[in-house]
């Protein structure tokens, strides 16, 4: 499934044209990206939470050469699925 399928589903569910549906779906993901960029988490009930986590810098190794390198501190995005989503994926809803 891609964004095009999401747009199609929105088009079928609402009275909006395909063009409008495409713009709206794009807008939803833009809003989510802006929010996460600000470091704010997103909680979607029944689906899951998107959380930005801070990672400290640490020593790592280049797995190819074995050289020790410094991995800088960084922010990463994690997704924690809700119990509801996990249950539906395991066929018990």
């Amino acid at each position: 499934m891609t964004k095009a399928d999401l747009i199609e589903n929105v088009y079928l569910k609402t009275g909006f044209s395909k063009k409008e549906s495409a713009e709206i779906v794009e807008m939803v993901f833009d809003l989510m990206k802006d929010t996460l960029e600000d470091g704010e988490k997103i909680k979607i009930a029944g689906f899951g939470n998107f959380v930005v986590k801070e990672k400290d810098s640490r020593r790592g190794r280049n797995p190819q050469t074995g050289d020790e390198i410094e991995i800088s501190s960084r922010k990463i995005l994690t997704f924690k699925p809700s119990q509801v989503l996990k249950a539906s994926i395991n066929g018990s809803s």
Partner: protein, 94 residues
Amino acid sequence: MTKSELIERLSLSADVLNKKDAEVIVNTIFDSIGDALAQGDRVEIRGFGSFTVRQRDAREARNPKSGEIVSIPSKKTPFFKTGKELRHRVNCID
């Protein structure tokens, strides 16, 4: 941001949308992704990320309270891989 705040922000940023429409749209998006994953499908949203289903093998674990060995059956779990654009934006790289 919660789902209702996302709905609120969506209806504010698109003047064609009332709150009811925004709610239907946001619910359609997440329901569609959930349904696709329940069917074992992979969902890819360019610029955002992709959702896949990963299989976890059955394993033996211990109940930390009683120390009893319990067998945990294999199960599937949703997995999200952040897209390149979003990964860079979250980490403040342009």
